[in-house]
């Protein structure tokens, strides 16, 4: 085999995946030993040599060659498997890569967008900040102006006050001057009265002695009376309020105690303490700080408890609202409407009763006295009586007539009955005769008999 060919063959790549494309022309009958040397590369692969030495000549060991081939086949299979796996992995990786590329492009877009948004928001923030700054400066200006105006007002006020005082002083001076002038002028007797009248309270007019003490004491007496009255009122009010508070406390205690069984014991002790305190208060009726505080504190506590309790009830009722039948709980509005309606009804009834009473009163009051009333009543009655009497008369007549008719009818009926009976008897006998004489001859006989019977009858009659 020419070495070049060998070389080309040796450089021929291994084509593991290529399908079998026909027998290879690697080995011919001539280059067997070269091929064997080439194949002996197998030993480099870790496979046992395919040769065995026989008398210094390497001969092909078929079994080892076949083993070698088998090993090669196994190797190839393994590598095929590996290749497949690698291929799959490569596909995966490539698809992953593709995905990643897509997502990265998307993220890039998003990043772009958010950068733009960011810029926009920054811009807006900046504008708002400018706005705020300008407004603040406006506010500061306004404040300064207000302050300035207030200062102006204050200064003008002081100026006006000063001027007013000055003018007032001048005016006072004028008044004094005028007073002096008028006093200097001797006016004639200014009051001209016919006679002096007595004092309104009848006392004689007294000398104007200095009675400051009397006036003072009078004034203080008035004030003290007023204070006393005031204090009495306040005390009454206070006592009432205290009573109300006590009652409230008792009622609250009453409401709360049956519901809360667990805390009953503590409460009992609390209550007894407070009851004792309240008893003290009631007995003494002194409004000392301590007792007052105790009462208010206990009221507050009770109230808080009651509030909690009511809140709990409210919550429970809210939960149950959906489940409970609506009839039991009527809303406040409905209740109020009902109340209004009932009130109106009551009012109407009252009005009605009143009008009725008035009418009745009128009725009773209009007739002047008993006699005339009786007479009046009588005369109305008289007409009625007369009419009734007449009616009775006619009625009686009719009744009599009816009686007579009835009697005659009954008699007639009786007679009729009798006659009928007679008639029936006759008929019966006739029929009997008829029946007895049934044949033609009989008929003849009947005839004769009839004739006979007739005659007999005629004779009878």
């Amino acid at each position: 085999m020419p070495p070049s060919r060998q070389y080309s063959h040796s450089t021929m790549p291994l084509l593991p995946v290529s399908p079998y494309s026909g027998p290879s022309d690697f080995c011919t009958e001539n280059n067997i030993s070269e091929c064997m040397l080439y194949i002996s590369q197998l030993s480099s692969l870790g496979l046992p040599s395919i040769f065995y030495d026989l008398n210094g000549i390497r001969e092909l060991d078929v079994t080892s060659a076949l083993n070698g081939m088998y090993d090669l086949l196994q190797l190839q299979r393994r590598t095929m498997g590996m290749v497949e796996e690698l291929e799959v992995e490569q596909l995966k990786v490539s698809s992953d890569l593709h995905c990643q590329q897509l997502s990265s492009s998307k993220l890039k877009d998003q990043l772009e967008l958010s950068k733009k948004e960011n810029i926009r928001l920054r811009e807006r923030e900046r504008q708002l900040e400018i706005n705020v700054k300008s407004l603040q400066s406006c506010l500061k200006n306004e404040k300064e102006e207000v302050q300035k105006l207030q200062n102006i007002i204050a200064s003008r006020a002081t100026q006006y006050n000063h001027d007013m005082k000055r003018k007032e002083r001048e005016f006072n001076k004028l008044k004094e001057r005028l007073n002096q002038l008028l006093a200097d002028r001797k006016d004639k007797k200014q009051m001209d009265v016919l006679n002096y009248v007595g004092r309104s309270d009848g006392r004689r007019s007294q000398w104007k002695t200095v009675k400051t003490d009397a006036h003072e004491s009078e004034m203080y007496k008035t004030l003290l009376n007023e204070f006393d009255k005031h204090q009495k009122e306040l005390m009454l009010e206070n006592a009432e309020l205290r009573k109300v508070l006590q009652q409230m406390k008792r009622e609250m205690v009453g409401i709360l105690s049956p519901k809360k069984h667990s805390q009953k014991e503590e409460k009992c002790t609390e209550f007894t303490d407070q009851q004792a305190a309240s008893d003290e208060e009631e007995s003494s009726e002194m409004s000392c700080e301590h007792a007052r505080e105790k009462l208010t504190n206990s009221i507050r506590q009770q109230w808080r408890k009651l509030k909690h309790h009511v809140e709990n009830l409210d919550n429970k009722s809210m939960v149950q609202l959906g489940r409970e039948v609506g009839e039991e709980m009527i809303s406040k509005d409905v209740h109020q409407d009902e109340m209004e309606r009932l009130k109106m009804e009551i009012q109407q009834c009252k009005d009605f009763i009143q009008t009725q009473q008035q009418l009745l009163q009128q009725q009773l009051n209009t007739p002047c006295d008993e006699e005339t009333a009786a007479v009046l009543n009588d005369c109305y009655m008289l007409e009625e009586k007369e009419r009734l009497k007449e009616e009775w008369k006619t009625f009686e007549e009719q009744r009599k007539n009816f009686e007579m008719e009835r009697r005659s009818f009954t008699e007639a009926a009786i007679r009729l009955g009798h006659e009928r009976k007679m008639f029936e008897e006759d008929r019966a006998t006739w029929l009997k005769h008829q029946f007895l004489n049934m044949t033609f001859t009989e008929h003849m006989a009947i005839k004769t008999q009839n004739a006979l019977s007739d005659s007999v009858q005629e004779q009878k009659h």
Binding site: D192, Y196, S205
Partner: protein
């Protein structure tokens, strides 16, 4: 009932409240004949028996029930002020231009008394509570002269202040509070009316004290500053400062003040359109009543006066109809209850002028302490009634014209008001009615006065007056 010598017959009719108002109420209103008066000078005597009116120079005294003239006095000049003494025995007639005061006696018509202030001038004249002294304030408020009718004594009080209400007598007539001003400082002097002895004299911490008012029980004196500063001071009878109250600074302050009849509350109306109620125990604000332009409070009833002009068809204008006169053109009005929320008509005041028409200018408590009536100047057609028990708005009356005058019945919770037209209006918790004044000719009601018994009203027109007798429930 009306048997006066002019031979007029009464007009007598029943007024039924319209169904639209809350309850039906039936009472009779009897209008008397119209009499002349000048200067709105017409006063009922404190004992309720007599009615005194001034017609130009003359003083006419009539019996309140029969309206017969009992006495006729002639004064020297046109009368500017007329007042009964507290025991109903004397009448004071003051003629400010002439500086004269004349006093007439009912018991002795021939008795006369004339006080001539001369060149010193006269600005105001009034009785003292005992009915035997006359206090004359000279021109420029130079001094107050106390003239006695019992003896020759004359007292002088210097430095009285010229302000809104510089002098007030306590309800029992024992003490007088007088505002004085010396060296640009305000003082209050308390005098004993018995002998005009100065009981207390103290300075007040005010810029410009504007008025004083005794509480009805006579133990507390309320003193308030001018409207430039919101300041209310409360002094005890012995001159101690009990409390100071100031709701706000800088804006215009107190415009009107009223004590409740029981002295429990002090109502202060201010320019900020609110009424603040102080309680007598702590002298702190109990509650603030606002007068908003939109009423939403659900418990209040808003009565709106609705006028109905009669519709005249052309065929009705017969001669007979025209001869009937003003009845064709008389507008009927009644009240309608409007549903909430309601917009109250507001008149914006001119802010450039002094004494702007804004704020609570009039407050009045009812006699039983239960109700408070207020008028806000920039809602001049509305009258607000508050329930003091509930401390909330009870009713709002919206009239067709600005409310001129409103007065509570001295015995019952009943309010009478007028708007300058020919009707009088009355509000009570049961409802509201509008009654036309049934007199001959036109009568524009400018002000109203109740008789002390609450049974009759005196209606004053421009220069006319008439009485309105109300039938009480027992008479029906």
């Amino acid at each position: 009932m009306l048997n006066n010598e002019y031979g007029k017959d009464d007009t007598f009719f029943f007024i039924y409240q319209q169904d639209i108002c809350k309850d039906k109420q039936c009472f009779g209103m009897n209008f008397s004949e119209v009499f002349k008066q000048s200067n709105q000078l017409c006063k009922i005597s404190p004992d309720g028996k007599y009615l005194a009116t001034c017609v130009q120079y003359r003083l006419v005294v009539r019996d309140v029930n029969t309206l017969q003239i009992l006495q006729l006095f002639t004064c020297l000049d046109q009368v500017a002020h007329m007042e009964w003494s507290s025991d109903s025995l004397f009448i004071l007639c003051a003629m400010y231009k002439r500086g004269l005061v004349q006093v007439w006696s009912l018991e002795q018509p021939e008795w006369h008394c004339k006080i001539d202030e001369g060149s010193i001038g006269l600005v105001s004249s009034r009785w003292s509570p005992d009915g035997r002294h006359i206090l004359n304030t000279t021109e420029f408020h130079l001094r107050v002269t106390v003239w006695s009718l019992c003896n020759k004594s004359v007292s002088y009080i210097k430095y009285p202040k010229a302000c809104q209400k510089g002098m007030d007598f306590s309800a029992d007539g024992r003490y007088m509070a007088l505002v004085e001003r010396r060296d640009c400082k305000d003082f209050i002097s308390i005098f004993v009316c018995d002998d005009w002895h100065l009981l207390r004299h103290f300075e007040t911490e005010t810029q410009d004290l504007s008025g004083v008012e005794w509480s009805p029980n006579g133990c507390v004196l309320a003193a308030w500053d001018s409207c430039l500063e919101y300041k209310m001071l409360l002094y005890s009878l012995d001159g101690r400062l009990l409390s100071t109250y100031s709701a706000y600074e800088w804006s215009l302050g107190i415009k009107s003040v009223a004590w409740s009849p029981s002295s429990q509350f002090l109502a202060i109306g201010s320019y900020d359109e609110k009424v603040r109620i102080l309680n007598h125990i702590t002298w702190k604000k109990l509650i603030e009543f606002e007068h908003p332009a939109t009423i939403t409070s659900s418990k209040a009833v808003v009565y709106k006066e609705v006028e109905k002009k009669p519709v005249i068809g052309t065929e009705d204008l017969s001669v007979h109809q025209i001869a009937m006169g003003s009845s064709l053109f008389n507008t009927k009005s009644n009240y309608e209850i409007t549903s909430l929320p309601v917009q109250v008509p507001v008149v914006k005041p001119d802010t450039d002028r002094a004494n702007p028409k804004i704020g609570i200018s009039a407050i009045a408590f009812s006699a039983d302490n239960r109700y408070l009536a207020t008028k806000n100047d920039n809602m001049p057609q509305s009258l607000w009634v508050w329930d003091m028990q509930r401390l909330g708005l009870q009713a709002v009356l919206e009239q067709t014209a600005p409310v001129r005058c409103f007065v509570w019945d001295p015995c019952r919770p009943r309010l009478a008001l007028c708007t300058g037209n020919n009707k009088i209006y009355m509000w009570s918790p049961a409802g509201c009615i509008s009654v036309k004044v049934q007199v001959e000719g036109s009568f524009q009601v400018q002000s109203i006065m109740w008789h002390g018994s609450g049974d009759s009203l005196v209606l004053l027109g421009k220069d006319q007056l008439c009485l309105c007798y109300l039938a009480t429930d027992e008479e029906k």
